[in-house]
């Protein structure tokens, strides 16, 4: 029960889904559509489980008044607001006020805060390239030179300096980059395939935890 059933579940579910890619059969197709849909439902329950962990960690911080507990209050409160307004809206789709409130919450926190974190990357591209791009070795030099050539090819100012920069960067992108990507993709696919096979056939049980 503890060991055999999980391995059987992996094998049966995995094989049915895999088979569906090869064989045209309506029953099989319906079954795999169902399985994937069930996966979404089980995943949805997992979100609850994970959220319990998040809330428990922060409630702990608050109740023990650990440093920064006030931030944990903010986290739990925001979460509670999103959940209550969101679920209320879901259950009362005709309430325009709740809908607008939820939209505002989304548009003015969730969405722009994500763009802000995303935009930090622009700064990090600058500092990482300054810190890391040193011609310490041939390999490091190749990395650096390719990066700079492509930047010069992309920015209009590069073209202003020398009109061949876009040509070079295009060649790097289409020939060398394509070659490297292809080779790496093939390797990753082989590694991923081997991992999947081991798990599907039950040779690898690490994902289910070791021992009892």
């Amino acid at each position: 029960m503890r060991r055999g059933v999980p391995l059987a579940i992996v094998f049966i579910v995995g094989t049915l889904l895999l088979l569906n890619y090869f064989v045209a059969n309506d029953t099989l197709k319906a079954t795999s559509t169902n399985l994937v849909n069930w996966g979404v439902i089980v995943s949805a329950f997992a979100v609850g489980l994970a959220s319990v962990n998040l809330v428990r960690i922060h409630i702990n911080k608050i109740s023990r008044q650990r440093p920064g507990w006030i931030n944990s209050v903010a986290l739990v409160a925001t979460m509670a607001i999103f959940i209550s307004v969101g679920i209320y809206t879901k259950l009362n789709p005709d309430n325009a006020g709740a809908k607008a409130l939820f939209q505002n919450l989304f548009d003015h926190s969730y969405s722009p805060f994500g763009s802000a974190m995303f935009a930090i990357l622009a700064f990090y591209v600058a500092s990482a390239s300054y810190r890391a791009f040193r011609m310490r070795s041939l390999e490091a030099s190749l990395l650096l030179i390719a990066a700079v050539l492509v930047m010069l090819g992309n920015a209009p100012i590069g073209e202003l300096v020398w009109d061949k920069f876009p040509v070079i960067s295009n060649w790097l992108l289409r020939v060398i980059n394509m070659t490297g990507q292809r080779g790496i993709a093939i390797g990753v696919a082989i590694g991923g395939f081997a991992t999947s096979m081991r798990i599907l056939l039950g040779f690898d049980r690490g994902h289910l935890g070791q021992g009892e």
Binding site: R2, I9, V10, I12, V13, G14, T15, L17, L18, Y21, S32, W38, G39, I41, V42, S43, A44, F45, V47, G48, L54, N71, L75, T78, M79, F82, I83, G86, L105, S109, P112, F113, S115, A116, M117, A119, I120, L121, Y124, V125, S129, E139, L142, L143, I145, A146, V150, S169, L172, I176, N177, T179, G180, G183, A185, I186, A189, S196, L200, L208
Partner: protein
């Protein structure tokens, strides 16, 4: 454009600035909005998934009589046996269901669109001729580089082999190709990332403070 009078926009602007302040130093204001953001997104995830359970499981089960949906609901609930030591092992059933899905839907794509499609695309003529039969040097050179490059990159990933002598040279060439590839990838995203920052700046300085625009 003028400075915004919408309190939502103010909240957005202040939040974005506080998150941005991280690049100077981690600070109490960043910490506050980091937690607000995490709370907002974690709450949003709960709402979306509550909707998923309602729309995909509960409603069809109770109104359309799709009885089979009781299975994923039970599997989902079994995940929570983790909170009870004696029966915690039952939650593995649900987890292995998810693992089965992952393995089942990734294997075919790995083989077809990644391994085989890329192998097939690597098969290019080493001598390229135009439609009139004339030899095209530049494309031939490109193709030779591509085939040699792909083979040596794959060769680099041989694990059960000590890479010495000629083997070391081949895999070394593979490594050079990869380094250029990474350089190109790095240089190429600089533009996209700067675009995002410019977008965020126009939100802050345009929409909120009304300086730009």
């Amino acid at each position: 454009m003028n400075i915004s009078t919408n309190p939502w926009v103010w909240f957005m602007g202040i939040g974005m600035l506080c998150l941005f302040s991280f690049i100077y130093k981690e600070n109490p204001m960043y910490r506050l909005f980091e937690h607000i953001y995490v709370g907002a997104s974690a709450g949003y995830a709960v709402v979306v998934n509550f909707g998923n359970i309602l729309d995909r499981a509960w409603t069809p089960l109770t109104t359309k009589g799709e009885v089979n949906l009781i299975i994923p609901i039970i599997l989902g609930l079994l995940l929570y046996t983790r909170f009870f030591k004696q029966i915690a092992w039952v939650s593995r059933w649900s987890m292995s269901f998810l693992v089965g899905i992952g393995v089942g839907i990734s294997t075919f794509g790995l083989l077809q669109s990644q391994l085989l499609a890329q192998s097939r695309a690597a098969m290019v003529p080493l001598i390229v001729r135009g439609s009139d039969g004339s030899f095209i040097l530049s494309q031939s050179i490109n193709n030779i580089i591509m085939v040699a490059g792909v083979l040596s990159v794959i060769f680099y990933f041989f694990f059960a082999m000590e890479q010495k002598g000629a083997a070391k040279q081949v895999s070394g060439f593979g490594r050079y190709v990869m380094m250029i590839t990474f350089g190109v990838a790095f240089g190429n995203v600089a533009m996209g990332r700067l675009s995002l920052l410019l977008g965020a700046m126009s939100d802050i300085f345009g929409k909120w403070l009304g300086i730009l625009g």
